[in-house]
Amino acid sequence: MTHLAIEDVSVDFGGIHALRGVGFGLEAGSIVGLIGPNGAGKSTLLNCISGITRPTAGRVWLGDAVLSTMSSAAVARCGIGRVFQHPELVAELSVHDNLLVACHCSLHYGLFSELLRLPDVRRQERAAAKRVSTVLSRLGIADSAGARVGSLPYGHRKLVDLGRALLMNIRFLLLDEPIAGLNDAEISRLREILLALRREFGLGILVVEHNMPFVSGLCDRLVVLDLGQLIANGPPAEVLGDARVMSSYLGEALDA
């Protein structure tokens, strides 16, 4: 079974230690919550895994492959999907076309065939469009297929962004604050979708989220970062009872 391993990862930005020797693993089919106060290094860690930020020290492994020396595009092609905190969609394109962009890696035709739109191109494009429609229905937003993304409510846009990750034949999914800005109905739908993805495809999911009830209800395990260091890693009940976690993070959350 594939294993995503973060091994002693450190990141320095100038003199600031954003991450210091962080290490933990993520099995296929497991859902891990990455929590910690603002500035703990959660997004930096996601950026390290997805190849956007290069670790100053340490490595990220996917099975036997080292991800941390690859470009972000190469990491994505290895099967690591990323959903950003704020959906990075092309506002001028329709929902359908935004999802079609995510089929990029499964379309195998050259520029010359594309210029002439040879029959093979048309066949591949039709197949991609079909996959897009399937994902749209799965996410329950098939009705918005033709709508411009810029005109959609925020919650819908987040689902479209998730849909893009799903079209990429991923094995692991990194989610950065997926429920921020969603209403209760959308949150429970997202939860069901994530659980179904784990059940059906054995997808491993790493989720950064501040909402404790959501995280503790969804995740098998929680990893807690504080000031760039890993301070706890275990089942939610155990981690949330940890005194260090309480003082560094949950205390703050309760105060707020």
Binding site: F84, S94, H96, L100, V101, L115, E125, A145
Partner: protein, 324 residues
């Protein structure tokens, strides 16, 4: 521009879809019949429109889709013109073959220019490409033995398969090449390259997370747009029959960029409308005593202020309104 035909039909009213097809058909028939209805100068202007439209179609990939500004396209246009002229005139290569070879040569230059440009964006990229343009223009100027230097090159009428190509022939050749360029541009716009370029313009981080190598596609966009510009240059050389380095300065690069913006960034129809606007409107203004340049400049301002999506964007909105 949508990729799947059914989605296009779902998002656009069926009537406007067939309107679009009818419009393209009417334009093509008019363009084919045009030499019957215009004088020599009119034909020259129409050919020039086609040539500039070809440049704009190519530049639209780079600027409209990938969001990269180039101020060296006049030089690609010039290199294409010189390469075609030199191959035809000095090496005796048949015109069409010279046109294609010159364009492939310029495509390689376009790809080379793109490599350092990958590190730059916005105004910095504009200045860097301005530099490239000056260098290319200077090389053409200094390489006197090959290019004739500042004296320029005078060209005889080209011939295809033993037949001399006159003004009408060149017009039809331009129309055919432009139609092919239009077809290619339309296909790319609804294929994986067009979509990848749009994502890159929006966010290179998002592009990476979708497995799209931004650098590779930016080089591709530079190369395709250099190819279009060079083919246009090879046609232009034989439209004017005299080329010198002065013709391919930064002023022309800015004009190319304006055509794309005035027509409508990221729209294929806009590239053609923008080129037509740039060629035809100054001619219509000639009647205004002493001030055609002034009025044209003001018109550019008016278009940009009131139609930020360009002429094509406005035409589309009007079209949608009238169709319902």
């Amino acid at each position: 521009m949508s990729a799947a035909a059914d989605i296009v039909r779902a998002s656009l009213p069926r009537a406007s879809w067939s309107w679009g097809a009818a419009l393209v058909g009417i334009c093509f028939v008019l363009a084919c019949g045009a030499p019957l209805g215009v004088n020599g100068y009119g034909l020259y202007l129409l050919t020039l429109t086609g040539i500039f439209a070809l440049v704009a179609l190519g530049l639209n990939f780079l600027t409209g889709y990938a969001g990269q500004i180039s101020l060296c396209h006049a030089s690609f246009f010039g290199v294409g013109a010189y390469a075609t002229a030199i191959l035809t005139q000095k090496a005796g290569v048949p015109y069409l073959l010279a046109l294609l070879s010159g364009a492939l040569f310029t495509t390689a230059i376009g790809a080379i220019v793109a490599v350092p440009a990958l590190r730059l964006r916005n105004i910095y990229l504009a200045i860097a490409t301005l530099g490239f343009g000056v260098v290319l223009q200077k090389i053409i100027f200094e390489w006197r033995s090959l290019t004739g230097g500042g004296g320029g090159l005078a060209l005889a009428a080209p011939s295809i398969a033993g037949h001399e190509v006159g003004a009408t022939g060149l017009y039809y050749l331009t129309l055919a090449v432009m139609s092919a360029g239009l077809f290619g541009a339309w296909n790319v716009s609804r294929g994986r390259t067009g979509r990848a370029l749009l994502v890159i313009k929006d966010s290179e981080i998002a592009a990476g997370s979708l497995g799209i190598h931004a650098a590779r596609y930016k080089v591709t966009a530079f190369a395709i747009s250099a190819f279009y510009a060079a083919i246009a240059g090879g046609l232009f050389a034989y439209l004017v029959r005299y080329i010198n380095p002065e013709s391919f300065g930064v002023g022309l690069s800015i004009s190319f960029l304006s055509m794309v913006v005035i027509g409508g960034l990221g729209t294929i129809g806009g590239s053609i409308v923008g080129a037509a606007f740039y060629v035809i409107v100054p001619e219509l203004l000639r009647g205004i005593k002493d001030a055609p340049g002034l009025v044209f400049g003001l018109l550019l301002v008016v278009v940009m202020v009131f139609m930020p999506q360009g002429l094509w964007g406005m035409m589309r909105r009007l079209g949608r309104g009238s169709v319902g």
